[in-house]
Point group: D2
Chain length 280, copies 4
């Protein structure tokens, strides 16, 4: 727990508002909700993934962070440990079997089991048109966005069974309403909706729930090509009656809920965090 002086310091000098307040405050009271649990979050050194990792750690879990570059892993771990959170980390390109194995091994160092897996790593969406995509582009997109989560889960599964665990896949509103510019990326995100449902059926008997976070336009480096484009953003905002752009913390709030006992009868669901809904 943060001491009072640190907290005042943070109140005075941290730039952001509501979310961080929530973080600190809920550091006091809700820490218990995921205490003694272990969470693996891929693509978690920046943006949505980082925010999820931080939130699950604030909720009391030990979190294993990872992404493709060592320096990003180091930076994220330093930041989270600086907040007094329990984290370990490792480099992991989810598309590589040996990296996934190392990630599993790192996760198991903390107590021998894993409760939560959040699959956030994804290929950059700007892959061009679907009909222009080469075999290599398809392999990369489907490999990282669809195959890798399934394979990582397969490797983790023996260590997740019968722990009231949860898997969260990260899709996108483009899964439902494709952006023409995103081509094969749209398709990979639709596939994740199906992966969510079939995994939910398969893993129900192992007491593992599987749900899907469906972010809309969230303010991250990943999406800045969209939200920094003022014409796009203004039109998008008007079309969807958005009041504001989403923040990574908005996504983290849902993931925290989906891992918690409050969501213990929710599985197979895909839930948009978008300021609107892309489907009935």
């Amino acid at each position: 727990m943060l001491r009072a002086a640190a907290w005042v310091h943070w109140v005075l000098f941290r730039p952001c508002t509501g979310l961080s307040v929530r973080m600190i405050s809920s550091g006091i009271d809700r820490k218990g909700v995921l205490a003694n649990r272990v969470a693996v979050v891929t693509g978690s050194t920046d943006g949505i993934g980082f925010s999820i990792a931080r939130r699950l750690a604030q909720d009391g879990a030990h979190v294993v962070v990872s992404s493709r570059k060592q320096q990003n892993v180091d930076r994220a771990m330093a930041a989270l440990q600086g907040e007094g959170l329990s984290v370990t980390g490792t480099v992991c390109h989810v598309g590589k079997a040996e990296d996934r194995e190392r990630l599993v091994a790192t996760a198991l160092e903390h107590g021998g089991g894993v409760d939560f897996l959040v699959c956030n790593a994804a290929v950059n969406p700007l892959v061009g048109s679907t009909v222009g995509a080469s075999e290599q582009v398809w392999d990369k997109i489907l490999g990282v966005n669809v195959k890798a989560p399934a394979l990582l889960l397969s490797q983790l599964l023996p260590h997740m069974e019968n722990r009231r665990g949860a898997v969260i896949l990260v899709s996108s509103v483009v899964a439902y309403m494709p952006y023409v510019e995103l081509g094969a990326y749209n398709v990979s995100k639709t596939a994740l909706l199906g992966l969510t449902r079939t995994l939910a059926l398969e893993l129900a008997s192992k007491d593992i729930r599987v749900n899907c976070l469906v972010p809309g336009l969230i303010k991250t480096d990943f999406s800045k090509v969209l939200h920094k484009n003022e014409a796009f953003w203004n039109k998008f905002k008007e079309n969807q009656r958005l009041q504001r752009i989403g923040q990574p913390e908005d996504c983290a709030g849902l993931v925290s809920f989906l891992c918690s006992p409050d969501a213990s009868y929710i599985t197979g669901e895909s839930i948009a965090v978008a300021g609107y809904s892309p489907r009935l």
Copy 2:
């Protein structure tokens, strides 16, 4: 950034914008996440509605309970007050304009505004076939299940604006996958999916989010005709790979989340609490 003195002042004395509430309440206790908020829950003296009322009160809200019979209202209030929760109550048949007015008046007795509206009241599902439904049956089902929530919201709306409020409608998995025996009831529940989305668009500018709870088979008196039918239940459970029947508290957990700041970028969504998902 707020200067420290102003900020402390604001923390202490600002009454009820969502942000300050969030800080103060969650700074103390998870139970306080909805402190100083007022929630109206219809059909809340039994089953899912009662469980939602209790949970929102446990989260710190003042809750207005209601249903069609005085004795049920009395019983529910006694039970909740016996748990030390802040509740008031009134008889309300949501299909009657004067009852809705009385409910609004009762809600306003507690501080002058309303933050959350949960519309749970519904006609019993066993209405027979769709083609066998008379004009009277249709009027009753559409009246209570679809029209009444919209009209109640209209009456409450002037008191809900700009408070970071939330509306939760209660649909059903039969909205997506109709049970043939439920006829017009299925249709009314599908209509609520549309009502959720159109209200979400309309109310976004008033800082009110609108989402939809989609229960599956939940163990209540309302549904016992289904779950007490062993043949039905066994087949249903097997078809959906269910591990257990849902409990009213499972629904309450989602509603608690949807009212909380963690869901502040979620609107227009319909989320199943069913042990499976009825849709992509």
Copy 3:
């Protein structure tokens, strides 16, 4: 396999199973695909409904046209009879029980049974906001758009059984993606998606299929408030990558298909005729 003699007998003397009708009629001419069938189309003196009536008559059916005004019925009948098509007509406000009865009676004048029912009559969409809708507005919209098709079908049903019949309800893309300006109209159109599915389940054993036409922006008087608004139309067209506005005949083509033997395994479906799809 039937022996030839028995089969010839059956071709000649079996009155009205779908199969024999199919063989005989389509043996003559594509225009005859619906020969010897009777179709009731509501709201059919203008726009989409008129186009459907014309197409089903061109396909060989006898078509009963109707709408609220005698002069419109007269005009439509004159136009269709002028094309050599087989039609009768009557005034019918679908929200009125006695009008529905008269429509049924008119339909039965032609051979004693009805094969197809297309429910196109609808309240004008410009009903204002959902939260601004009075009880009277809701009653009108739900009454005409949702209840009336169900009640008309109930009245026709005894005359539609076991004829390989088909019902087509007419929803709208706003059922999936509401326009904020259309309020309760959106909700009624979503309800029709549910009505389609529950009726399909109920009527399967009577050999009646039930499907839903989901028009997008179709060039009619009904929709001109939208497509005549150049700003709206340009934005809409760009958002959905539309190449053109839809024509009533585009809708009629789908309805013709849905009534034909080619669609004999399609039931419960909702199909958009919109130049794009509003859902996965």
Copy 4:
């Protein structure tokens, strides 16, 4: 119109029933609908694909049939040519670039352009559990079911532009409601729903519509592991209120419609031919 003698001859000696009636008869009158058009159908020497190929040829198109084995291609071509239909054929494993190129070349032999592409080739669904799927299994399923249709379309596209063309992808009801036994196959079929929509957006400006056939349980060799399992079939039939199992011709009827001018404003849609609908 068929002369009586020919018709009696056909009655006596043709093996199949209703569908063939339709075929022969519509061979006279509807032949025009796709006359002078060229259609490529993959996986078309058996089952659903064969039925689609036959129907499009009956509608007047020249059809290029293909599948993985020369003897199957020879058999299918002989059967179709024996019916007086215009077909050519080639071996094509859609997962192989050189095979796709040969298929394109074969298609271009007939007039230099292609109007319709129906992608039916698919990996056998019995691939086991999702979490048990190896990287090789994923590569095969996603490669053949998702990547191959996209790549084949890319190769054909220069020859399809501005001809009022149509692409039909073949998904499955398991895209919406996964069967737990089908694992990664379910996921690939969900991906096709997304591929349909993103391609529809991309190709609208080239006057090519893209839609998706969503078969339910259709009586083919491919699906016999399901429909031959009596316990499964009986339960499935009861759950979905099915009156009968689907026939390949039911699928062909929809594809014929989707290629025809009657569907010229339908794009991006997924339509179930299943005797029920798996979604709103």
